[in-house]
Structure formats: structure tokens, C-alpha cells
């Protein structure tokens, strides 16, 4: 590919700073023209997506060795680069960046029409780009304190966006609740970082894991830090015991933001897997020991996953608000990812089991992350389109939308089939990987996972019947505006590609991520 060397060299940081630059140009340009912010935001997010593509090419060509970018380093400055801020990008990080890039592009195009009537659009687009900055930064950085900073950036920007519809008191209620949870989790994260720094005197995650390894494995303090980190990141991901704020925030956010919210929440999963594998699952080839016997940790993650799956879907069945229903399904789907990768964490130290089913479980879990961001993003966008036309989210007040909102109906159907795991959709491929591998780990959990999938299908059939089928309404709503349809089409196109070529996607996108998590342990075994 003919990409100038400048972009090749600086791709990791450009991914983060392009939307940051756009975010601060937006309010300045917004003073000149009220329609300019939308173009600025789309331009800079597209630029960032292009940089992600350049970065992905570079990462995959040298997988599983990560791409390292050191901030502020003169060549030969004589200072050990691990004491500087480093961006460390491997297969998993770049996969998460791809997710964020696709979803944020779709969401910004979708927002053109969606928030056309609202004032304060420059602030909306600023915060949207800052959310992307937070998510990109979280998945690309190799420095655990930077991870905290980006974690807070994305939380604060998302809260501002949840409260964007200022005419509703409910949006402030949801935003307050989500902000409270994320601030408290931020304090715990800071404590965990303090513990690491106090013990090892570094903040670079790779160096922390090596220092822990040479100190003879995880100490008691490290285990406390691990408890804090698991709590914080599963809260960010919206897993069950800490899920109270998620449905409110998802359902009160404007349509495009709910989609981006899903992708931003999944950075919590990324951070959880990163700490589990890179820091605590570090394998020392000299002593043949791991930093921590991850069997218990794996089971904790698996149990979190099973609880999320089951409680999420049962809560979803009783909802009457279409976005709240989808939000509970988002919690339920998060359970699949935790389950898949949790199995991988549990059997990490057992090479026989790892090659028998652990790698497949991790493939399934990580494949499900990108699938879920795509189809749940799509479903939230369709729900936003319905809200845009009807000004209600109550399922009892809508019927027969399929008569006039044709594209939205088709898009909803594609998303619903994908989330229910119907063949041949992409959701089926990832769920099949999870079922097969989890069955070998523990059959009962696999049965629960299948049951949850059936309940998901039932729930979405209910929505489809009550909202899109039935008699034609008296004032049939028009289909969604063009820019919203374009936003949804982007996601649908990617979903269809993923559905048609699952093998290729797993090989090209998912395997580098799995290899990166297992590197250097079992590097050749995948």
C-alpha cells in the first residue's frame, strides 16, 4: 500500500489525536456556522478510521509482536523508553480500534439528521469525538495510568451525551447515575494503579508484569489490585452485579450515542482481558511459572458472564421500552464475551485444554465483541429511528411500522437475527464457537448459554411483531432520513460481510487478537 512514511510511523498517535483535534476545532468552527460541526466531526473521525487501517496493516504484518510508539522521544535521548508514555498496539487493541472506528463513523453520519432540531450541536459533536478519543486511547496505550485518564475521558464525554436532551429530567437522572458509578470505579482504578506503582515503580503494563514475574508472582497486594480492577472493568463493560446504571444510560442517550456507547463499554472488556492475560497471566519461561494461577480468576469471569447472560435476558423480557429492552440485551450479550474469554483465562495454564477448546472459546468471545458492537449498534440506531419518527419508545404505542418504514424494518430484522444467533448471521458463528468450546469446559454453562439465546430470539420476535407488524397506523410515519439510513447501512454492510465470510474474518481479525493475548505463552500454538 502506498501510504506516506509519516503516517506509517505516527499512525498510533494519529488515531488518538485526530479526533482530539477535531473535538476542539468543532466549537470554534461552530461559531461561524451551525452546520459546520457535523462535517468537521465526520471528517476527523473518518481520518482516524483511515489511520486505524494503516495501523492495522502494520500490526498484522508483525503479529504477534506489538507495535510500540514512544511519546516525546528523541532518538538516542538516553532515557529508558519504558519510563516514557508508550502506545503499545497489538492484535486485540487494533481490533477494538477497528470496532470504535466503524461504529463512530456510522454514529456521526446518523447524528446529522437525528439531532438536526437540537441546539448545542457543536457540543454534541465535540463530546462524540471525545468519546472516540477515550476509547481509542484506552485500547492503544501501554501505560496503565493513561488507561485511567482515557477511561475517565470516555466516561465524562458519554455522561455529557446522555444528558444531551436537556428538556427531559430523566436524561439527567440517568447521566448522574452513570457518572456516579464511573467516578467511583475511577477511584478504585486509581487505587489499583497506586498499588502497582508503589510495588514496582513503573506504570507500563508490560514492565509491571515482568517485574511481578521476577518478584515471584502476584503478592497479596497484587491480588487486592486484581479484585479492584475486575470490579472496575466489569462495571465499565456493564456486567451484572454492577449493571444498575447501564440500562438507564443506554436508553436515555440519543440514538447514535447508544450505538457508540456499546463500543465504548467494550473497552472495559478489553481492559479486563488485558490485565488478566498480560499482567496476571504473564508466563515466565525461565521458571515455568505464571504470575497468578488464573483458574479462580477465570471462574470468576465465567460466573460474571453467566449471571450477565441470564439476568440480562430475563430482565429484557419484561421491558416495554424498546431501548431499555435492547440495553438489557446488551448486558446479556456481554455475558457471552465474558464467558468465552473467561474459559480461556481459566485453562490458561493447561496447554492441553488450551489447545483443545480454550483457544476456540477465546476466539468465540473476542469475535462476539466485534459482532455485538455491530449488530447492537445497528439495533440501537433502528430504535433511534423509530423514536425520531414517533417520539415514543413505548412498545405498546407502536404497531405496523413495517408498512412505511421499510428500510428500518429490514435493518432491524437483520440485527435481530444476528443477535439471536440465527444461521447464517455473524452472531451465529461466534455463538457456535462459544457453545462448542464451553461444552467441553462445563456442559451446564453451555446449555444455559443456548437457553439465553432462545430467550433472546423470543424477545426480539415480540418486538418485531408488536412494533413493525400489525395493522397500518393512522398516520403512518415516513422512513428514517437519508443520513440515518446511511449510518445504518454502514453497519449492515459490515454485518453481511462478516456473515458471509466468518472463516476469513476469524483468521484475519480474531486470530491476531488471540495470539496477542497468549503471547509469548503458546505463541506458536494458535
Amino acid at each position: 500500500m502506498m501510504v506516506p512514511e509519516f503516517f506509517q510511523d505516527h499512525a498510533p498517535i494519529l488515531v488518538v489525536i485526530l479526533p482530539l483535534l477535531g473535538a476542539f476545532l468543532t466549537p470554534l468552527i461552530g461559531k461561524a456556522s451551525s452546520r459546520a460541526p457535523r462535517y468537521v466531526a465526520a471528517l476527523f473521525l473518518l481520518g482516524s478510521l483511515a489511520m486505524v487501517a494503516v495501523l492495522a496493516d502494520k500490526v498484522w504484518s508483525q503479529s504477534p509482536i506489538p507495535v510500540v510508539y514512544t511519546l516525546g522521544a528523541h532518538s538516542g535521548s538516553g532515557i529508558n523508553p519504558v519510563f516514557r508514555i508508550q502506545l503499545v498496539v497489538d492484535g486485540l487493541g487494533v481490533l477494538m480500534a477497528i470496532i470504535m472506528g466503524i461504529v463512530s463513523t456510522a454514529a456521526v453520519l446518523y447524528s446529522w439528521s437525528f439531532i438536526d432540531k437540537y441546539s448545542g450541536q457543536d457540543k454534541y459533536y465535540t463530546l462524540l469525538q471525545l468519546t472516540a478519543v477515550g476509547a481509542y486511547g484506552m485500547v492503544l496505550t501501554g501505560d496503565i495510568f493513561n488507561l485511567f485518564v482515557f477511561f475517565e475521558i470516555s466516561s465524562i464525554a458519554l455522561c455529557g451525551l446522555v444528558a444531551f436532551r436537556t428538556e427531559r429530567g430523566e436524561s439527567f437522572e440517568a447521566a448522574f447515575k452513570y457518572m456516579l458509578y464511573s467516578t467511583i470505579s475511577g477511584v478504585f482504578l486509581l487505587f489499583a494503579i497506586g498499588i502497582f506503582y508503589g510495588e514496582y515503580g513503573v506504570l507500563n503494563m508490560g514492565v509491571i508484569s515482568e517485574a511481578m514475574s521476577s518478584a515471584g508472582g502476584a503478592s497479596v497486594l497484587d491480588k487486592i489490585a486484581l479484585g479492584l480492577l475486575v470490579t472496575v472493568f466489569s462495571l465499565k463493560a456493564g456486567s451484572v452485579p454492577m449493571h444498575m446504571a447501564t440500562p438507564d444510560a443506554y436508553s436515555e442517550a440519543p440514538g447514535g450515542i447508544s450505538a457508540i456507547f456499546v463500543a465504548a463499554s467494550q473497552t472495559g472488556l478489553y481492559a479486563l482481558f488485558r490485565t488478566s492475560f498480560t499482567i496476571y497471566g504473564h508466563y515466565n519461561p525461565n521458571t515455568g511459572a505464571f504470575n497468578l494461577d488464573t483458574y479462580t480468576l477465570g471462574w470468576i469471569v465465567v460466573i460474571l458472564g453467566v449471571l450477565s447472560m441470564f439476568i440480562g435476558v430475563t430482565m429484557a423480557l419484561v421491558q416495554k421500552d424498546i431501548k431499555r429492552l435492547m440495553a438489557y440485551h446488551a448486558i446479556s450479550q456481554t455475558g457471552y464475551m465474558l464467558l468465552g474469554v473467561g474459559v480461556g483465562i481459566a485453562v490458561l495454564s493447561d496447554p492441553a485444554k488450551m489447545t483443545a477448546f480454550g483457544v476456540d472459546a477465546m476466539r468465540g468471545g473476542i469475535f462476539h465483541i466485534i459482532n455485538h458492537a455491530l449488530y447492537k449498534g445497528l439495533l440501537f440506531l433502528t430504535a433511534g429511528a423509530v423514536f425520531y419518527r414517533l417520539q415514543t419508545r413505548n412498545l405498546n404505542e407502536m404497531h405496523g411500522l413495517g408498512h412505511t418504514m421499510r428500510f428500518t424494518t429490514v435493518f432491524f430484522m437483520i440485527g435481530a437475527l444476528a443477535i439471536a444467533g440465527m444461521p447464517p448471521m455473524n452472531g451465529f458463528s461466534s455463538k457456535l464457537l462459544i457453545y462448542e468450546s464451553v461444552y467441553q469446559f462445563n456442559p451446564i454453562i453451555a446449555v444455559i448459554a443456548m437457553l439465553v439465546s432462545v430467550l433472546t430470539l423470543a424477545s426480539f420476535v415480540k418486538v418485531f411483531y408488536s412494533a413493525f407488524l400489525g395493522p397500518k397506523p393512522e398516520n403512518p410515519p415516513e422512513d428514517a432520513p437519508t443520513s440515518m439510513l446511511i449510518g445504518m447501512t454502514i453497519l449492515v454492510a459490515v454485518i453481511i460481510v462478516f456473515s458471509l465470510f466468518p472463516g476469513l474474518v476469524v483468521e484475519r481479525l480474531i486470530d491476531p487478537a488471540v495470539r496477542a493475548l497468549l503471547f509469548p505463552w503458546l505463541a506458536g500454538g494458535v
Binding site: F145, F148, V149, E152, I156, C159, G160, A163, T166, R168, G169, E170, F172, E173, A174, A175, F176, M179, L180, T183, I184, G186, V187, L190, F191, I193, G194, Y197, G198, L203, D248, E252
Partner: protein, 116 residues
Amino acid sequence: MLWQLPFVVSVALVAIGLYICIVKTNMVKIVMGVALMESGANLFLVALGYRENGTAPIFYQNPNPGAEMVMPTTQALTLTSIVIGVATTALLLAFTVMLYKRYGTVDTRRARRLRE
């Protein structure tokens, strides 16, 4: 042993803040609880960087050679987390004000239209 006191205090601050967040129903008090928790975390970080008889980490002709300096990194971290704390506190207070305008109350037991 006395230099371990800040750790005890920081954990106590976080515990008190968490207690306030869980038990109190006034949203302004909850914001105060969050601010307390943040202070606890900041104190923890600063205390980590403390070295006994350490001097300020500025490069100058050291008055007593061999004396240690306190860690500057944790102070930088604390500064960052203070800035983030300012942002979150301001945002939470803004939400409280707007919620009061819409609902006429700052009591979390009465401000829960989402649950209905």
C-alpha cells in the same frame, strides 16, 4: 511507623465517601462523598511518593549529599487525577442543578422517574 498513617487515612476517606454514596439520599451529599473518595485516592498516591527525610524533587545543589528526594511521578499523577476530579465534580453538580430544576427535588428516593 508514623509514615504509614496517610495510608490508613486515605483508606478511611474512601470508606467514608463510599458510605455516604450508599447511605445518603441527598444528591449534593452524594457528590460530597464522591469528592471525599477522590481525595482519599489522591492522598494515597502522594503518600506513595513520600521518602523519609526526602527533599523536593528539584535539581539543585543538594544541601546534604546522599539525601533522598520524594517521588515526583506520583505528584504528577495526583495533579492529573485532581483535574479529572474537578471535571467530574462539576459535571455531577451540574446534573444535580438541572435535575432540581426538572423534578423540584434532590432526594434520590423521589427523583426516580426512570424506574416507573
